[in-house]
Subunit: 468 residues, 2 copies
């Protein structure tokens, strides 16, 4: 494609992004890029073509607006499944090109945010939605509580107590539309003078983004084998620390109970607040569940964040936050100024789903499904990958890490795997400081793939990595 | 009740808020405060009992947690409709009290945020929800587009073009979970150097709160008969101005087209951006609809905010924002860091609702319903209130203003009307600067009341106001 661009640049007055857009559009209509195929990331294509990211972004936006491609959050751009597509005769020869490997479709996408959807009980959800729409009509239409519906919060409190040892009244729970929403609201409750936070490094970059835009002073703290390095943390005087102890993102480390207790003791002594992001906690494949920091805490130092995105469905936009008293008071002072982001209908449907026992059944089922996939993933890695990879996981959650020591750079691995039709996710962006990784480390999610896809995908990955 | 408190304080070690909580709880269980009754506002009760607001708030929170009362956003606390309530024998005599007038239930609540719910087509909504749950299963569960579903945005763009003259592609639309959400996101897209804004005074206090927490320098601009006073605005050098031209909140002034054109011309010359909050625009009872500022603008200076909260249902949490190119680019640079707040299911259901023509039918029906209620309200005011009131309206929206010149202060009006069982809403809090109102002005909403309730409520209001 590089050749085309160089040619076109010489020959045309059209803006570069239009040329790129037209080229991709024609590849799609001629079916040389298949439906459902994933386009290269903006960064990747921009690098490849040696054009700016804005140029590629504009080309993609035009394709998006016209319906040729769709955008999937945290995943990228995919060619749309359009029922009838006009196949226009493409003057390929005129353009003098060969299909680039970059556009081979991705068959095995090991994204870490996608969930298994086969097991979602649509019938029950539909039945309960109907039930809610029949029963609470008038109330249902007016504004609900800013904090979220009381009955729903009661169900959440009950579930958290039984499953995570979180101890709170429904009054401490704020229903939100996602972890971003929870974090943003939380930041707003924190006095400007207290806006300093220590975060895991590597850590979830979206959380860092939210703290940054709320003017927090951010200190990255390295990890050790048990999670956030307490030794380094103790040298830090931030008022807050953000941790993902159930399944550290991205490393997968599960914080053992001793570290949790030490962390809590330090927090109590130093008067630090802990933000515990328990995003993955339902899925632990070995050993007993470890109680939440919030449940072990006796000094009201923990803000607990949970979500239904991984365990139920991310499209529902249903998450929650448990506030300790001090921050709850702050929230209540201004509660009339906040609006609830989730719809009352969804809250009430999910509340019934929980109250009628479907939620518990769903979690148990998903745990089995994911445990099986996890085992299959591990076995496939053993079967197909050489010993030049090191698996970093925690026997929990919906992803593992793979450290790849075959001599390839991160970028080369990305290129070659994509060419082969496999997508795995680089982790360099999760380091706040320049990452001093000896070898590139990749995220491999498995939630959204079928068992066969996992096996085939890892086999294909093996072909790529072992060939070096 | 004051007597009780004084007595109890002498006799008890219990915290004051517990005493108040117990008293109210007993009044509720003995049915002396009826189901659905509205409790006095925290401020009002605190003043009356001469205790702190926190004390009353704590008492209310306890009642809330235990399910005796429920909180309705922007409205207050209401006694819950609990099917079976234990009636415990109340030792009233022991307490030596008389029911206080403060606890007479409010029969006529002229709140400005409630909508008419009788006309919502639950059957259709249920049918469409089912349809969506049957058709798009797998896609429906995964993350949707951060910006909102493309098809849904297409419907919104189409609707806005036809109904408000807003000219945009679906690409410029961001779906949000409410006006707060829209404003917060918008603030985040604005460079720190540009965070200065002129707002209407009086104006919507929640908007001011959001600008404040995002570190905007805020300048209040007075109104004249046509809306925000352009003369004063021109002396100001804020980079942004926030207006509610379809139905100024709270005054109800509808900005005529000449003012809109002058405003736009000034914005173009001074390179100011206009935030147009078109919250009430579907309901105009006289005259032709006035095109939106966005549609009249030719310099990409207008950010358009719309919502389904007043026209469909506030519980759905569905709103949107149309960004001009410059801010849209900014959004797209960071789009991977934003998450969509509304559920995919709701978006798709509403999209079908619009695509199948139900939305248009709904709006037409609601317009008739509200036009009738509006006329009835005006007529009742003419019939029952003396000439010592002045009506300020705009023949639009779901509320009017009443200037009350009978010699009563704002607080006295609040007290006496509540005692009579009528709730009207003071506007002093909407003035940023000390309001120099000659006479108190009250918001009278009518969306959520039946026609009979409007007539009876105004008659009752007349009894109160005319008695002075």
């Amino acid at each position: 494609m590089k050749e085309i661009i160089l040619n076109l640049q010489k020959n045309s007055n059209e803006p570069l992004y239009i040329q790129i857009y037209k080229y991709i559009r024609e590849e799609i209509t001629a079916n040389r890029i298949k439906r459902g195929a994933k386009l290269p990331s903006i960064r990747h294509l921009a690098d490849y073509l040696n054009v700016s990211k804005i140029t590629v972004d504009n080309a993609y936006q035009q394709l998006l607006v016209e319906g040729y491609i769709e955008s999937r959050q945290r995943s990228g751009m995919y060619v749309q499944h359009i029922e009838e597509m006009l196949i226009t005769p493409i003057e390929v020869n005129k353009m003098n090109i060969c299909p680039t490997p970059s556009f081979n479709h991705i068959k095995y996408d090991f994204h870490y945010g996608t969930i298994d959807t086969d097991s979602f009980n649509f019938n029950i959800w539909r039945k309960l939605t109907s039930q809610v729409l029949k029963s609470s009509k008038v109330q249902l239409l007016q504004y609900g509580e800013p904090q979220g519906e009381l009955d729903f919060r009661e169900e959440i409190a009950k579930y958290l107590r039984l499953s995570r040892g979180v101890l709170c009244s429904s009054d401490q729970i704020i229903v939100t539309s996602g972890t971003h929403n929870s974090l943003q609201l939380l930041c707003e409750l924190i006095d400007y003078n207290d806006r300093s936070i220590a975060i895991e490094n590597p850590g979830w970059s979206n959380a860092k983004f939210i703290f940054e835009k709320n003017n927090f002073e951010i200190t990255p703290i390295p990890l050790d084998k048990d999670g956030i390095c307490l030794k380094t943390l103790k040298e830090n005087s931030s008022k807050f620390v953000y941790v993902t102890p159930s399944h550290q993102f991205p490393s997968g480390i599960v914080m053992p109970i001793t570290r949790r207790q030490h962390l809590l003791r330090w927090a109590k002594n130093s008067k630090t607040f802990i933000i515990e992001d328990d995003y993955d906690s339902e899925f632990r494949y070995m050993g007993r569940p470890i109680p939440s920091l919030q449940g072990l805490d006796d000094d009201e130092r923990v803000i607990y964040l949970g979500t239904f995105s991984k365990s139920l469905a991310p499209s529902l936009r249903m998450s929650y936050m448990v506030l300790p008293k001090k921050l709850l008071d702050k929230y209540k002072q201004n509660v009339s100024m906040y609006e609830q982001s989730t719809s009352r209908l969804n809250q009430k449907t999910l509340q019934l789903f929980m109250a009628d026992g479907y939620w518990e059944r769903h979690i148990q089922k998903m745990r089995k499904v994911y445990r099986k996939k996890y085992s299959l993933l591990i076995k496939s890695i053993e079967d197909y990958l050489n010993s030049n990879v090191r698996l970093i996981g925690g026997n929990a959650g919906l992803h593992i890490l793979l450290e790849i020591r075959n001599g390839m750079s991160e970028d080369m691995i990305i290129q070659k795997t994509e060419m082969a039709g496999v997508k795995i996710y680089p982790t360099s962006k999760y380091w706040m400081t320049h990452s001093d990784l000896e070898y590139p480390i990749f995220l491999i999610g498995f939630g959204g793939l079928s068992e066969n896809q996992i096996i085939e995908g890892i086999e294909l990955l093996g072909d790529v990595l072992n060939s070096n």
